[in-house]
């Protein structure tokens, strides 16, 4: 039985097409469709219910040491109010999850994780939780809304807001609702993610829509992150894919003290396959799991793919043999027995031009 987010009734009233996703009932799209929602985020501002995401609070004198041993990125350099993207790896260097870590204080953090991995992540963290750390699951009490797009900051106008990407402000009052405001996102656009209590979510949602934000569903969330070249757990990241294979080396700090998976990642530091971007020539879509060939030999498979609404052509991400990932390599994709010509292109596929800093976690 799927769970409902605090905004479930708003979605239904808004003509949202509800589907089960990671144990929750969420809108895949609203009445106008995925393409219109996608374009709204690229050109105006879209609002997403991402309350299914999990929040773990890690608090106590040993909090930093615990997180440092679990995370591939270096959290010791964080300041209060800062956010960092990191991977959680197992002993083999496989990815358990990709998460955001928020530092509230030197001994107080949040870890925001993927809904589909919540149970796995919590038991992993529990296993590695020392006596001087209190680990709490805040997921069931916490709603999350993502406001994304070039007009997002205007919609929030007049508020004190985090000025830099990957920073956050706590206890901001927005539309009468107390929230944590994080200058982060999963769309490749400027914007924020807002965390609030479940009971306050409908009011905040309504206020942001009244300010002109366009409600967007999971479908657009996926096409937006794909255009922005961002990995999705279960596709570009799994227990069988290392962060180095996924092209996320800049989030793995070998020069920090030991972390789980470090030795394995050092051993596997020259991977034979890497994540690459593919632009599909001609008509057709290569989704997940299609074999990719170069000069007659299979060189890998696709991990995600879609029609990219803003770019106007089909794109895919793939794990490919490192000898075939240089830009311009011509490949062929086997889509259910039909051959699609494609070309290796740089990631991200789409990069926003306005603004001075680039919030994408992908190099």
């Amino acid at each position: 039985m799927e769970r409902k987010t605090p905004l479930y009734h708003r979605h239904v009233a808004n003509n949202g097409k509800m589907v089960p996703f990671a144990g929750y009932l969420l809108p895949v799209q609203y009445g106008t469709g995925i393409i219109a929602e996608h374009m709204a985020v690229r050109t105006k501002a879209g609002l997403f219910d991402v309350s299914h995401m999990g929040e773990a609070e890690v608090k106590g004198p040993g909090a930093l040491d615990m997180l440092q041993s679990l995370c591939t990125n270096d959290l010791s350099v964080m300041a209060d109010g800062q956010v960092k993207y990191t991977l959680l790896c197992d002993e083999n260097g496989g990815v358990i999850d990709d998460v955001l870590v928020y530092r509230f204080a030197a001994d107080h953090y949040w870890v925001v994780l993927n809904a589909s991995n919540q149970d796995k992540d919590f038991s992993w963290m529990q296993t590695h939780c020392p006596g001087n750390v209190v680990l709490r699951n805040l997921s069931d009490a916490t709603a999350q809304l993502a406001l994304q797009g070039p007009l997002a900051m205007d919609i929030l106008g007049g508020q004190p807001l985090p000025a830099k990407n990957y920073t956050f402000m706590n206890e901001v009052t927005m539309a009468g609702v107390q929230c944590m405001v994080s200058r982060t996102g999963y769309t490749g656009e400027d914007g924020v993610e807002l965390y609030c209590a479940n009971k306050d979510a409908p009011m905040l949602w309504g206020a942001l829509l009244a300010q002109g934000a366009i409600p967007c569903g999971l479908g657009a969330r996926d096409t937006l992150r794909l255009e922005a070249g961002m990995p999705l757990y279960g596709h570009e990241l799994t227990m069988d894919i290392t962060p180095l294979e996924a092209g996320l080396k800049m989030f793995v700090k070998f020069d920090k003290p030991g972390f789980i998976g470090k030795e394995a990642l050092i051993e596997r530091s020259e991977p034979s396959r890497r994540r690459a971007g593919l632009r599909i020539h001609g008509r057709g879509i290569a989704r997940e799991g299609c074999p990719v060939y170069a000069k007659g030999n299979q060189i890998g498979h696709t991990t995600s793919g879609t029609h990219a609404p803003y770019l106007g052509y089909a794109i895919a991400m793939a794990l490919l043999d490192v000898s075939c990932i240089h830009i311009g390599t011509q490949v062929e994709i086997d889509v259910r027995g039909r051959w699609l010509a494609a070309e290796v292109v740089a990631l991200p596929f789409y990069k926003r031009v306005r603004g001075v800093d680039h919030s994408s976690p992908i190099p």
Binding site: G33, I34, G219, R287, A314
Partner: protein, 128 residues
């Protein structure tokens, strides 16, 4: 949901228009296009192909997913709607105008697939 009375329907959400003389047009229902969302790509059969009941007739890709369209009839493809190559969204905009293929030499219009009346199809999609 729009379900014209003059067409027949399949449980897999195709519509069939009997053109007489053993000829019929096949397309996707309004219900199907609405479930699929924005359609961005259509693979059509070739004119002259033989198709059997239940065989893959076309692939219709929306942003979300690919859907296979099965032939409700046995016969020979006599025409395909090439305009869909440049304007696949026509299926979203006018599901009953945007036909996929025309099938000729149909020896049994009732076929092996149970064709539903508009009322029966309305009942089917109401339950879903």
């Amino acid at each position: 949901m729009n379900i014209p009375q003059n067409l027949r329907y399949t449980k897999s959400h195709e519509w069939v228009q009997d053109l007489g003389d053993g000829k019929a047009r096949v397309g996707l229902t309004d219900h199907a296009q609405s479930e699929m969302g924005d359609i961005v790509f259509v693979t059509l059969p070739e004119v002259g192909d033989d198709v059997a009941v239940g065989e893959r007739l076309a692939d219709v890709e929306s942003v979300k997913a690919v859907s296979e369209v099965y032939s409700p009839l046995c016969g020979k493809i006599s025409a395909v709607n090439d305009a869909l190559a440049d304007d696949p969204a026509a299926i979203n905009n006018d599901a009953y105008g945007a036909w996929l293929a025309e099938i000729d030499d149909i020896d049994d219009m009732e076929g092996a697939v149970e064709l539903l009346s508009a009322d029966e199809y309305a009942e089917l999609t109401k339950e879903a």
